[in-house]
Amino acid sequence: MKLNRRVFMGSGAAAATALAAPMAFAGGHGKPRVVVVGGGAGGATAARYIAKDSKGAVDVTLIEPSRMYYTCFFSNLYLGGIKTIDDLGHSYGTMAAGGVNVVHDWAVGVDRDAKTVTLAGGASVPYDKLILSPGIDFVDGAVAGWDLSSQNAMPHAYKGGSQTELLKAQIAAMPQGGTFAMVAPPNPYRCPPGPYERVSMVAHYLKANNPTAKIIVADPKPKFSKQGLFQEGWGKHYSGMIDWIGDDFGGGNVSVDPGAMTVTIDGEVTKVDVCNVIPAMKAGRIAELAGVTDGKFAPVNAIDMSTKADADVYVLGDASQQGDMPKSGFSANSQAKVCANAVRGALTGSRVFPAKFSNTCWSLIDTNDGVKVGATYEATDEKIAKVDGFISATGETADVRKATYEESEGWYAGITADMFG
């Protein structure tokens, strides 16, 4: 559905009328209650915006097990030695001071009939609207020989924090001339350029500290995000270091042995020193427990991110199945604002504006060599649909690439301020 301003004004008025009724149900138990599960780019943004914009008219509870949130975006720059782990960490103190009730616990169940969320600590939290933004979990058995019990030997490092630090330590401990292997994930997965930015940043580190080391990438995909830009950069900065084995060359036929530290690609066994396994992904488990997933992810309505399964349960970010947007922190943040506006409107009768979405993903190939890809999106009846987009060009000047990198730093400061206050 394409909304022009006239249609939007009309539907806004209609919504305001219809919303006189929901105001009444809130009266039964005081203020309307929103529970948000997951304090990342989607959940933190949604919680903060609803609390901020409703000016206390809505009770907002954020359930997030971690006391410090380490962003997955920019974690590759930490692997490359360009950022520190402290650069990536954010606390929830400002958000709590801004009126969000921050509960550090795991959500372990959702009762959609009783409209409650159960916490690992035993508490049951009631909601009028539930927003799930749990990020990703890994599909069992996706990479032969690997499961979560092997994540210390072969880290995924695809959720920010201790896994990222582990992978960095393993790279630093590689013997001179050693081998770093990556098992890349199949589509769809979080941060499409992420594995390839990681390869670039690992190469950046190795070039300075271990210049005879090698990088092997086993990839189940025949092509990948920003491929031309990455491969141009790899040739320019890390010539001869990186061997990318796509699906056409058996990259999808892969198994690992975490005990022996071997990777078998299309029948060929290689002993490696570090192995970064990024398995196939699915929605964070709480979405599945809530019964709003269909297959690996949770189908949602593009207009407000409500699930197809339940109009009072919303899913944001990587866990959602929404259409054309890539799974990224930027996307989750963008979806959260549309969702927050709709949820607040439904609970308080405030104006609901048309959904607009956007995304930009920056990647760093080498120091000051940044590239980006982005697009705008709109809500249609079927999905979030792409409107317009752009991508950095190969052969750009060093000045353009440096400006792109500096822009990505500005974006990081911007989005984290937008998420956490």
Binding site: N4, R5, Y49, D53, F330, N333, S334, K337, N341, R351, F353, K356, S358, T360, K372, G374, A375, T376, E378, V387, D388, G389, F390, A403, E406, E407, S408, E409, G410, W411, A413, G414, I415, A417, D418
Partner: protein, 255 residues
Amino acid sequence: MIALLACFLFSVQVSIREDGFLHLNRGTFFVLAAFFLTGMAKASGMGDPALGAAVFKKCQSCHQVGDQAKNRVGPQLNDILGRTAGGLEGAKYSKSMIQAGQDGLVWSEDTLDSFLESPKSLVAKTRMSFRGLKDPEDRANLIAYLRSFSKGPIGASNMQETGQGIDIKLDPSVLAMVGDAEYGEYLSSECLTCHQSSGSNDGIPGITAWPTEDFVIAMHAYKQKIRSHPVMQMMAGRLSDEEIAALAAYFSDLE
């Protein structure tokens, strides 16, 4: 200017007399001229105001100078030489620019030269989102141009045509639109993924406290692809005139 002319004549003569032996082409001449002028700019502050007018085009989406110049995104620049940094009444400044003025920064040819070379090196958190002029000749010429709008021994009261605005086709009714600030607040949330509400200006420019008209012109300039940033062209490209007005209304109120 006389020196420049002499240099040019000299180079032409040389190329005629000794063609094939010591050939000075146009490029060589400009390198020599640049070297010469740079030396002069440092020594006695001589730049070419006519060439500076062309350099000023980089400034004029935010700054005006000349007769009837007004404060826009940045302060108007009449009498900039001798002005205390952050000291023009009615202009919007970063806290750090005001602080710099209180600490004694006054705009002279030398301080302007440093600032224009790398704004953030001189005033770290300036709102001026400009990467700087690396070419000393460009800076000398620009300063000469600005001097012609400043009181003082050279160029006093030499008011020329007002340098202003981006050349953009915009219906006056679009500029006159009164934006819906509440809708603007919602739309602004999309901007805030990158542009900080604090007005911070590192890597990505601050966009708070802009005059409404300038905001509208800038957004339409992106929409018409006159301003050249791919992300902004894309973001502005799908905003209606009403939506741009709404955003301008919201951001102009945000301090």
